[in-house]
Symmetry: C2
Subunit: 431 residues, 2 copies
């Protein structure tokens, strides 16, 4: 270990790497610290621990089955040009920047302070000295990239639009804000250190100046899902464990069935094979109202114990739910409108999602309450089968809806990973 | 170590405690994990490391000279009643809750799930299983608590208002938003884990329902100041090291001179002795404009090297600045309008502050840019001598102002710590 090793490398990645993953490996970038497993006060334990680095290239994009990192910065962009070449050039720039930053390097090839003094630096500098921090950058294409709100096919992509990539239908209870919804492109940045995630989004936005503008962005301070078997189940702002029944990376069959788009799923969109769809929903929680409910009422709404996360039908967090078990009043103990019943895969033909959401607080409402909630992110093989029916049922009959408003919504097609030798993410779409 | 030990305790506090602070001590609360020093990917190194717990009672409030934690949730409140007894009752409730939460316990005496099922829990639950996380809660009183905007002395406190506790004067370049400014009360929550800080503010707001409403709140994702000699100097969103010349806890003379209110400072406000003043300023940064400047221009604006933080007059980060050293053009090498010159204590009669600010990103501006900046927090013995002249000089002649807008501003008197046996923070004010 050298004096250049960052504090994160020394106390976090370094210690964990020594303990869990053997000796550290010298990084490709001086700022990168040790390669290895990241742990520490914000880091998870167990076999699902977040690694210090994830490769950017591969069959699938990182940031999906990757162990859910603790912090999020998500941005949706409008493309402000009609020039297809400019769009491709941006995706090429973004791909190179993402490959560098996820390896712990700067956004540009030169770096924040190494270049000529009479040029703007090609990296903004706030991540100097910080290691990769488990950063993943996951790119997606919105329906409007293929045909915009005026019906225009700006980039010659309309014929290759996946059939399932269309604006989500309106759901009862949606209170969508246009400025928090949609987008031609998206980037999900997840990392253990929020400064690393913010730095990545900021530098991608900067690289896109003149080609894209940020349509909306969302910080998430705490993950609400586990995506691997080794991660603790975190809690949402209702105080309940969330994501207990999530699709986990280790469930390779379920991942293939419910996350990755298959080669034959959509004849018009072979380019999406190995990719996924990303549903983003900004769910504001009426936490003040929720907090005035009794513990029994809260547990009845969710269908689980608040403390252990066990279903009200008994057992522990991961015990299958007995929906038929009677309660004390001739009703089932897991109520008919309990969240876990309404959204359960058994009631939707086995539909499942890989959720990857985050808690957020965005200041204050006009009513003197915290503007807080869950930024819901889910990756699915097909939103029309794995998400829409579940959301429709939830909107219609889930007791939890009384405490929620969905204020933002977006859907993106997430192309497969960038293969070795490819110039940019989504290259097959533009081929 | 037991299975109940949290992931933070195991990989962060646990390892660091073993390495730096000896064997862990069983916590007062089961959820508290190990007592000890917190480190890890989000944690600082060195002698200034953030501890797992800070005592709530003492001569001064915690969260001032305490090593700056990595995450912030700050809230300002309006008191919505004219009932002095209700205000005192709230402060009593807040004090008890703060003492519990900073020790790793729940907000209320019962806890999130241990109480009767037919009552609302007295803690909201999202921090179940999380340790104290270095949480500090620091309370302040705004000018309007003593006399409101209509001139009313609602709580019989007007005669005890400190002479320096008045709305800050307008500064050139301020673009203040009323909904982000002022407040009768404030709470600064700092912790290593943002979920711990958010949980604390949320539960204090909840406890105040009917007595206070949240006027504004601000999350900060990354600290921009060190407050002890052992902490690394972090970077702000301009990419520069920030807080290099901060008042540090180890500078006991400077802390006495510039942070703590003296017993004889203000005859009307003896209750504030041992306390401080807290200046809060929400400083939006034009990061897009900044990022288009050359490295030389950025460094000229700041007066320091972007990489090392050394002054342009040479040396390393902590080398004193030579303001007379000539540059290449008959101007001093540290320009006349360089930030470090304009705000330097030597040019303000030795005025210094203990800064404790945080980087923020609050979504997106109407112009498609990130709404990002620095939430400036500074503790001073007297804002009229330690802050106002510096801010005035900065507003008038600091080159950095071209890249800043101050969109929120507030001043609070921060009472001394709660002594053993006292019922609530600020008790001497109400005595």
């Amino acid at each position: 270990m050298t004096a250049r090793l960052s504090r994160r490398g020394l106390l976090g990645g370094g210690v964990a790497a020594a303990g869990l993953a053997g000796a550290g490996v010298a990084g490709a970038y001086a700022a990168g610290g040790l390669s290895g497993v990241t742990g520490g006060p914000d880091g998870p334990t167990g076999s699902g621990a977040v690694a210090e680095r994830y490769p950017f290239r591969g069959a699938h994009q990182s940031g999906i089955v990757t162990p859910a990192q603790d912090r999020l910065h998500f941005a949706a962009f409008d493309v402000t040009t009609d020039d297809r070449d400019a769009l491709v050039a941006l995706l090429t720039t973004w791909t190179a920047a993402a490959e560098r930053m996820t390896a712990g390097g700067p956004a540009g090839p030169v770096g924040p302070v190494e270049g000529a003094a009479d040029l703007p630096p090609d990296d903004t500098g706030e991540a100097i000295g910080l290691p990769a921090g488990g950063l993943t950058l996951t790119f997606g294409f919105g329906p409007s990239l293929f045909r915009d709100a005026d019906g225009r096919d700006r980039f010659g992509l309309a014929e290759r639009r996946p059939a399932s990539l269309r604006d989500l239908p309106p759901f009862p209870g949606d209170e969508l804000v246009a400025a928090r919804s949609g987008g031609d492109l998206c980037v999900q940045a997840c990392a253990q250190d929020p400064q690393v995630a913010v730095h990545a989004i900021r530098n991608l936005a900067r690289a896109g100046f003149g080609t894209v503008a940020v349509r909306w962005s969302q910080l998430g301070f705490g993950r609400t899902s586990s995506t691997t078997a080794g991660q603790d189940t975190p809690r949402n702002l209702f105080g309940f464990k969330d994501g207990t029944a999530n699709v986990l990376a280790e469930e390779t069959r379920a991942v293939d069935d419910h996350v990755w788009v298959g080669a034959d799923d959509d004849p018009a969109a072979g380019w999406l094979a190995g990719g996924s769809y990303l549903v983003a929903r900004r769910i504001a929680m009426n936490i003040e109202t929720w907090d005035r409910q009794t513990l029994a009422e809260q547990e009845a709404v969710v269908g689980r114990s608040k403390g252990t996360g066990a279903p009200l039908s008994g057992g522990d967090e991961h015990t299958p739910i007995d929906f038929a078990m009677p309660g004390s009043d001739d009703q089932p103990i897991v109520a008919r409108d309990a969240h876990v019943r309404v959204v359960h895969p058994d009631h939707h033909g086995g539909a499942r999602m890989l959720r990857r959401g985050y808690n957020f607080v965005d200041g204050t409402t006009d009513l003197g309450a915290l503007d807080a909630g869950l930024f819901f992110l889910a990756f699915v093989r097909d939103p029309l089968t794995d998400f829409v029916p579940v959301q429709r049922a939830m909107s219609r009959s889930d007791a939890m809806m009384e405490y929620l408003q969905v204020t933002g919504s977006a859907l993106f097609a997430v192309p497969p990973g960038v293969a070795e030798g490819e110039q940019h993410v989504g290259q097959a779409l533009f081929a």
